[in-house]
């Protein structure tokens, strides 16, 4: 077993210290209490501030526990915030791919569509924000399952509803597909949710790597897949690029 990581131990000590007493501590006080050089303590505090576990009072410069710590158990990224932060790159994905774009997050055992951009052909389309999609039968859902072990456990223990003759309905088959998603970094499905429809998706990651959502394109099978039925490599590239761009935006 590898040894413990010193900076994490120190960060934990900083958090315990801030949780005590008045809850407001200056840098000098923190470094003195923990016997750390000021520079080291400052570096730890800056990192904790970045992940929002610690906040600094603008007026006094003193540190306290961050609001994010209190909400650790609940959803980490607000759905409307994700839409707002991803709007530029999802537009760009639609423009580059020529397909409609959706961003999904997990909610109550399904994919919640938090953002939707029309296919750029000016045909009549309906805005699908707020729709719920099945996790196991969509590319967005497969991405969310692939990077959340607890969620995929839960999904596999429930009945995998058959939506078309191609829907994955056995836990073993689903687990195989999710392993492939993790290996390749993207997911796809063809006619597993709706006959004649296919989709491709990739993970959106928050700083640190946590997958907070998925972005993808969908449409008629012949638009999304090549004649052999495989997702078109250019579309996969566009989707992966957009997912990385949104992830970078979340880190900015």
């Amino acid at each position: 077993m590898p040894g413990s990581i010193q900076s994490i131990e120190r960060a934990a000590a900083v958090l315990r210290l801030l949780a005590r007493g008045s809850g407001h501590h200056g840098l000098a006080e923190i470094s003195a209490s923990l016997g750390l050089p000021k520079g080291t303590a400052h570096g730890i505090l800056r990192t904790l501030q970045r992940v929002e576990f610690v906040e600094q009072d603008h007026a006094t410069g003193r540190y306290r526990l961050g609001a994010a710590l209190l909400h650790l158990g609940t959803s980490y990224l607000d759905a409307n915030e994700l839409r707002s932060r991803s709007i530029n790159w999802s537009d760009t994905l639609a423009a580059r791919s020529g397909q409609e774009v959706r961003i999904g997050m997990h909610l109550d055992g399904a994919v919640l569509v938090v953002h939707h951009v029309f296919r750029p052909d000016d045909s009549m389309q309906t805005l699908g924000i707020g729709a719920m999609l099945p996790l196991h039968a969509t590319a967005l859902g497969k991405v969310l399952l692939a990077y959340d072990a607890e969620l995929s456990d839960f999904a596999r223990r429930r009945e995998l509803t058959s939506l078309t003759r191609r829907t994955i309905v056995t836990p073993a088959a689903l687990e195989r597909v999710l392993a492939e998603v993790r290996a390749s970094g993207w997911a796809s499905e063809s006619e597993e949710c709706m006959p004649g429809e296919a989709s491709i998706a990739a993970p959106i990651r928050a700083p640190g790597g946590l997958v907070v959502g998925a972005i993808g394109v969908s449409g008629a099978v012949d638009r999304i897949c090549d004649p052999a039925g495989r997702p078109k490599p250019t579309l996969v590239r566009h989707v992966s690029f957009a997912a990385e761009a949104v992830s970078r935006e979340l880190a900015a």
């Binding site: 839409r83 707002s84 639609a94 389309q125």
Partner: protein, 508 residues
């Protein structure tokens, strides 16, 4: 030949962005930095022009780096900016004489009241198309000349220069103290109250009305024109367009035909209608302004409904009340309830702009009962933007006698799904968002690309417009009318609140 791109700099109220677009108007790279807002007294809003310039110095190279694009791949640069915000600087040192006075700032309220008493006040609106209000540049510039020691003398001697942010950036980019160009575009000039709308030149009568020395003013140029090349930050890039942000959005939405309208939702919100080569004067509280001018062609006029506070109300809710952590969370909070619970917020923070033009109005929250939660307040915040839009759309219809059939929207707030649905509901027309929400930047890029021959003509640009989202009205008509009546009553309550300050305050 390697691929080529157009660069846009959007110098906005709260941040400055540098965006690169490709030939299909697709976004390639974005770099952004926020700048500080200073609120030294109630109603005062200032910025540091040097901080903004330093941000441009960082984001231009960063946008190129992020897109892995070299400067010689940039065909042209288009600059767009927050309008009316006034900066005065020393032509020999490049140092601003004071902080910029931002468009929302209402310190000139008393000056406006004094000017309104002058016998020649009627000619002002006739000549510049704008009502006498704190919003525009001339009163701000006059205030700086009156309150900065020695500034008027320096202005008379030609030592200091005035500009809106376009002028400040172009002067700096083209060399600053070493031969920087002192120019502005006709759309920005149309917001100063100093330009004659018909001749598009500085107007001697207006200069005398506001008592502004002509020597400090920039040269007025068309919106699309090769101004020169950058010599600093990223040298050698052709500056091929400059236009005010709302005018850029009109351009970016490809509203090139008479009657085409857009509304941009940002810090404030601005509805502009292209009125072609006809100068339309409003009887319902709208402004007459220049839409844009393509180099070598006559100007295209526009009618504008300006709303001072929309996105900034959400920011106030976040920063001053602390009820949300980030601006988009207003939607999450608003969705915790199903209606406003009878509560209305009229954000007359800087008085009310179009269609009312009551500079003495101040904001209110009305309809408070013990039932109201922060969720209801969040709803009221979003609804305030929707109803203010309804008021300017109604004014536009009243002026032109034609009902609108659709609203084209853009800007950061279009990411708020609930707000967009609410606007469709209160207007009772579909709301359409184009594929590039960054329409202001896109418009600046279009204008620059057009001047540089990167795009051949306006029709070519039109083909780039694609629908990204459409919200359909769903509100019951009876309910809509009831709510509109309530909103109008709430607006009336804001009128006449601010009183002139006591003499003692004035001396301080």
């Amino acid at each position: 030949m390697s691929q080529r791109f157009v660069m846009a700099i959007d110098q906005g109220t709260t941040s400055t962005r540098c965006i690169l677009f490709d030939h299909n108007a697709r976004l390639v790279s974005v770099a952004q930095r926020e700048h500080r807002q200073y609120y030294p007294r109630p109603g005062w809003v200032e910025q540091d022009a040097v901080e903004i310039w330093r941000n441009v110095d960082r984001i231009m190279p960063q946008a190129l780096r992020d897109g892995e694009i070299s400067p010689d791949q940039i065909v042209a640069l288009g600059i767009t900016n927050q309008r009316e915000t006034a900066v005065v600087w020393d032509r020999h040192t490049g140092v601003p004489a004071a902080r910029t006075i931002v468009w929302e700032d209402i310190r000139t309220e008393e000056l406006i009241a004094e000017l309104r008493e002058r016998p020649d006040v009627e000619t002002v609106r006739e000549r510049c198309g704008l009502p006498l209000a704190t919003y525009f540049s001339a009163p701000k510039l006059r205030w700086l000349l009156d309150h900065t020691p020695g500034l008027r003398d320096r202005a008379e001697r030609g030592e200091v220069l005035f500009g809106t942010m376009d002028s400040w950036l172009i002067w700096n980019l083209t060399g600053g103290v070493n031969g920087g160009l002192h120019v502005t575009d006709v759309t920005n000039a149309s917001r100063t109250m100093l330009m004659n709308l018909t001749t598009q030149q500085w107007d001697a009568e207006l200069l005398s009305f506001f008592d502004i020395p002509a020597r400090m003013l920039p040269e007025i140029r068309p919106s699309t024109e090769i101004h020169g090349r950058t010599t600093r930050v990223v040298p050698g890039i052709r500056i091929a367009a400059a236009l005010g942000d709302q005018h850029a959005a009109l351009f970016g939405q490809t509203c090139f035909a008479r009657g085409e309208t857009k509304c941009t939702y940002g810090t404030g919100s601005f509805l502009l209608m292209n009125t072609g080569t006809t100068l339309v004067r409003s009887n319902h509280g709208l402004l007459t302004t220049i839409g844009y001018q393509i180099g070598g062609e006559p100007v295209t006029y526009a009618l504008e409904g300006s709303i001072a506070v929309t996105g900034s109300l959400v920011q106030w809710f976040r920063d001053n009340l602390g009820l949300i952590h980030s601006a988009p969370e207003i939607e999450t909070l608003a969705r915790t309830v199903t209606d406003n619970g009878g509560c209305y917020i009229v954000p007359a923070f800087s008085g009310l702009f179009a269609p009312h033009w009551h500079s003495e109005a101040r904001g209110i929250i009305v309809g408070l009962t013990s039932y109201i939660t922060k969720g209801h307040l969040a709803r009221a915040v979003l609804e305030a933007t929707a109803w203010q839009t309804r008021e300017v759309v109604d004014a536009m219809e009243a002026d032109l006698g034609v009902p609108s059939s659709v609203l084209k929207v853009d800007g950061g707030m279009t990411a708020d799904h609930l707000l967009m649905q609410c606007i469709a509901d209160v207007l009772d027309v579909p709301v359409m968002r184009p594929m590039v929400a960054e329409t202001v930047s896109l418009g600046a890029a279009y204008a620059a690309g057009l001047a540089a021959g990167y795009w051949p003509d306006l029709e070519g640009l039109r083909r780039n417009w694609h629908l990204a989202a459409r919200w359909i009205p769903q509100m019951d008509p009876g309910h809509r009318e009831e709510e509109y009546e309530n909103w109008k009553r709430a607006v009336e309550l804001t009128f006449g609140w601010a009183r002139p300050r006591r003499a003692a305050d004035r001396i301080r």
